[in-house]
Amino acid sequence: MTTFDQVIPVITDILRSYREALIRIGGMIINRDLNGRVRLIVSKSVQEDAISQDLLTAIADLMAEHLGPHAFPPEHAVLYEADIETLLKDKPGMPLEDFPAIRFVDRLATESDWATISTMTTRAPRIVFYSLKGGVGRSTALAASAWAFAQQGKRVLALDLDLESPGLSSALLTDDRQSTYGITDWLVEDLVDNGNAVFDEMVVTSTLSREGEIYIVPAHGRDPGEYISKLGRVWMPKIALTGEREIWSYRLRRLIEALETRWGPDVLLLDARAGIDEIASACITDLRANLVLLFAVDSEQTWTGYRMLFRHWRTSGVVRDIRERLQLVGAIVPERDRERYLDGLRDRAWDLFVEELYDPVPPEEDTADLWSFDRADENAPHAPWAIRWHPDWTALRSLYHHMSSVDATGVRLIFGPLIDGLITMIDNRKSVQR
C-alpha cells in the first residue's frame, strides 16, 4: 500500500511516462492537500482541449491506481484554475525534478512550512536562540547575553517567544517587576484591533542592567489570566476587509517592528520554542532574523532533528536563503573530557553541515565562490560556540539572584565564546553597513 513518503516518487514516475505530451498542458501544480491526498491543478483553458483532457484522464487513472488512498477518484483528480501563477505566488512550493513547468505544493495544517524565508532586517540585529531539545540552557544563555550586551552600554530588547513554556522573564526580573501584559495578550487583542490597549504595559526593564538597558517582553503578564484560552487563539490569522490574510507570525513581526520603534534597542534577542514547532518556525523563518543560534548537545535526537530541518530547507530550495544565518552553539558542555566532547560535537556538526548545507567542493576546483568550510575552521557555522555546564547557571528560577551578584569574569567563564561571537557578529554587521 502506498504511504505518504512514496507520493512524490510515484507521481514523478507517472508523469515521466508522459513527459513529451505534458508540454501541451503547460504549467501544472501537483497539490498535496491537508490529508495528504494529491490532485493536479491546471489552467482552465486546458478544459476546452480534448487532447489535454485525454492525457489528464490517463494520468488521473494511473494516480488512482498507484497512489491508492493518497489519490482522489479520477473524476475529482483535477482542479481547474483561471490563474495558476497567482496560486503559486501565495505558496510557491518546489520544482518537481525534471519538470521545469510543474511545481509540487504541500498544504499543511500548520501555518508555517519552514520554507518561506523572510529577508534579514536592516534595523537592529535580531538574534534567535533556538534548540531542538528543551532543557539545554537556551533561555539562560539568552539572559546572560542580554546581561553582557547591557554591560557594554547597549539597549537590549529580549522577547520570550516560548509561549507554551514561558520562563525568560523570571530569569531577568524579580516577581514584583513583572509587566501587566505579555506577547500573548497582544496577539489576542490584535485580533479585535485592540493591541494598543496592552502595548505600553507589556514591556519592563530589568534592574540587572548597569550600563545599558534590558527591556523584557514576556509571554504573559504578572497575572497570566486565562492563559490557555489566549494561547489557543494566538495562532489565528487576521483577515482585512480586502480579504488579505496576515498569518499569526506576520502579526508577531508587526508587533516586533512596533516594539523596536517604541524602545529603540541596539539588539533584539528572541527566545524561540524548542523543537520543530510552529513558534520556532516563525522565529527562524518569518521574523527577519539576522542570526539563528542552534543549541546542540551531542545526542542522536539533536542531530536527527537538525538533519530533518536542514534537509527540508535543501529539498524546498531555500537553503541558500537561510544557511548563512545559522551558528551552532555547544550547550551545557560537560567539564569532564571537555575538549574531547567538543571535538566530537564539531565532528558531528561538520558531517551534518557538509551533507546538508555547505556547497559540495569538487576536487581540484577553485573554492573561492563556494560556501564551504573546513572542519577545523574556527569561524565556520558548524564550529560550536561552547557554553560550559555549571550548577549555578542551571535553575532558571533562581537565575535572577545569581545574575544580580555575578560579574563579567563569572559570565565570561561560562558564556565567553557565545558572547564574543555575538559581539563580533554585531560589530561586523555595523562595519558592513557603514
Binding site: L34, L79, P237, K238, I239, L241
Partner: protein
Amino acid sequence: MPSMNPDFLDAHHRHWDDAERLFEASRWANADHLYGMSVECGLKRLMIAFGMPLTTSGDPKRDIDRVHADQAWIRYETYRSGHPGGAGYSLPTTNPFATWHISQRYAHQSNFDQSHTNIHRNGAAIVRGLVQKALIEGLVV
C-alpha cells in the same frame, strides 16, 4: 427530471460568474443580488465542511442555518470556530453584507450604483477565495 437538490458549490460558482458578467455590463442591481447569492452558497458549502447538519435532500437541517448572505456571514463563524480546521478560514470581522438584503431584489434599480455593489463584490471575492482554498486543501471535494 434532473435532481433539483442543492449543490451549493456549483451554485456558488455560477452566481459569481453571472454576477461578474452583470458587473462588467454595469448592471449593478442584479450583479449586487447575485454577489449575495454567491456568498450564501459559498458559505453554506463551507459550513457543511465544518459540520452543518443537512436534511436528506441536502438543505440545512436547522432553521437557524436557512439564511441569506447577510446572516450567513455571521452564522458561518459558528461552524468555523467549532471546527479544528477552521482557523485558516476566517472572514473579516466587519460584515460587508450588513447592507445587503434579499428583499432588495424588489427595489428600484436606481438604488444601486457601482460603489454600493463594489462592497459586496469584494466580500464575495473573499468567500470565493476561501472556497478555492478549501478545494485546494481538500476540505471540499
